[in-house]
């Protein structure tokens, strides 16, 4: 294993940085999509409710590999081609966005109805109720599922190996076949994921306790 680390170490670090960039960029975008879709779904405007429902059904049930292939190989047919990196970011953010929307919506449903009624009674509009009263409480109650999603999302970046995005999955494939010792390379990358994701999990645990609403 040490000889593999020696030979492929630098490329592993590059792969890791690419994984981190894809994961973080896509999660930021996914959060945006998730908030928007969740807001649409709880709004009193029928077309938005429908469209958001369609979005969630589509992106939650499509296998990520299919979505990646669609984005990477089909968008160029529409003259909208993206690089492997940006295809991965787009596909992942659309995919995780659907899950985030569902998580945020489940958080919204935990907010007591009286809060909304009180806010409505003092004359706040839908957007104000959602933005000032409901979402701040909803988000705090769903830190744990968001953390789990972030971990799953980070693992999902490896699917970008299908479109050669240069991240860790792609690195595994290239270094694996180049070194003729696939097992060791894949094991090494697996350990990298464990070393990063297990502490990330505990970090979300701490965050959860910090922001929990004591009732």
């Amino acid at each position: 294993m040490l000889d593999i680390v020696g030979e492929y170490g630098p490329r592993l670090v590059v792969g890791l940085l690419t994984t981190a960039r894809i994961a973080l960029l896509a999660f930021a975008l996914a959060f945006l999509f998730g908030l928007l879709i969740a807001a649409f779904r709880v709004s009193p405007v029928p077309p938005l409710v429908r469209a958001a429902g369609l979005y969630v059904t589509f992106f939650r049930n499509i296998p990520l590999a299919v979505l990646m292939i669609l984005v990477f190989f089909v968008l160029p047919d529409l003259d909208l081609g993206l690089s492997g990196f940006w295809s991965a970011v787009l596909a992942l953010s659309l995919y995780s966005g659907a899950y985030l929307a569902e998580i945020i919506r489940s958080g919204i449903n935990t907010v007591a109805a009286g809060e909304v009624e009180a806010a409505r009674a003092v004359g706040l509009t839908f957007t104000q109720v959602l933005g000032l009263i409901v979402l701040p409480q909803a988000l705090r109650s769903v830190v744990a599922p968001i953390g789990s999603l972030f971990i799953a999302h980070t693992k999902n970046t490896t699917v970008a190996a299908l479109i050669s995005a240069g991240e860790l999955g792609d690195f595994t494939r290239r270094a694996g076949s180049a070194s003729a010792n696939y097992f060791t390379v894949a094991l090494l990358v697996a350990i990298v994921f464990v070393v990063i994701l297990v502490p990330t999990g505990s970090l979300f645990g701490v965050l959860e306790r910090r922001v929990a609403i004591k009732r």
Binding site: V42, S43, P44, V45, P46, P47, L48, A51, T57, F58, R60, N61, I62, P63, A65, V66, L67, I69, L70, V74, D77, L78, L80, E102, I103, I108, N109, V111, A113, V116, T125, L130, A144, P145, G147, S148, L149, I151, A152, K155, T158, A161, T172, R173, G176, S177, Y182, F183, A186, L187, V189, A190, F193, V194, L197, V198, G201, S202, F204, E208
Partner: protein, 293 residues
Amino acid sequence: MTSILASDELGPQGRRRVRIATVVSALVLGAFVAVALIRLGQQGQLEPELYTDLFQAAVWRRLLTALVKYNLSVALLAMALSLTIGLGLALGRLSRSAWVYRPLGAFVEFFRAVPVLLFIFLANFGLPQYGIDLGTFGFVVVALTAYHSSVLAEIYRAGILSLGRGQSEAALSLGMSYWQSMFLVVLPQAVRRMLPAIVSQLVTLIKDTTLAFIIGFSEMLREGTRIAEFLNNRLQTLLLVALIFIAVNYALSRFATWLERRQRRRYGGVVTPAPGTLEDPALLDQPEVATVR
């Protein structure tokens, strides 16, 4: 289902606002679709043959054969194996001996932090290095089982813990042994509570089978790209592949939701906090399940 935000009765001003928002949003969404269609048209993607080609029986036969023979078979086989191994892992993790639960806990955490794709690489390219040859089908099953049995171990554990101690205490006080109380009293009830979660996990498994695309496994995504090359209609064929997957997974998700509702109605409340509602293995770690963190 209307949300708490949309449930209250609106006054005249509110109704007017909603009407305006409805019209505006419908227009914006319509414009969005129109732009997409124009774009498709400009790039020659709306030619009828590109779509009618897909209605040949051969296309459907090949896609659905791949779906059943590879995606669904692998998923079901891996699910059966994971259910068995997962049970063993869960029972071990619930053991009273630290010599058993510590290492198993570490094992489950380790496996759950590793991306499924790496398991596929490890199985398909790594195992042959050690002289093990199971064929692509076998390797994919092994890879998916390795990952999903740890997830199922967590589902079992959550199911067993959700039952409360009263059940096993009552069984023990009747003179049953630990294993009798586990297999005759606790597990039958726990498994019933876990059903929605297991069905949702099957959806994730089916999705994961498409990852084997990367090792050249002839599952439906691979078959789709082959057909697309032949018919020269990538967008249309791949969209069809996507829609077939979505239809299968959506049906299963609905089934999981239905199971969960029925369970709630019958047994009043406790259903194993499912990936069911959130449908991803990792989302299992909800507060009440206390798992990998």
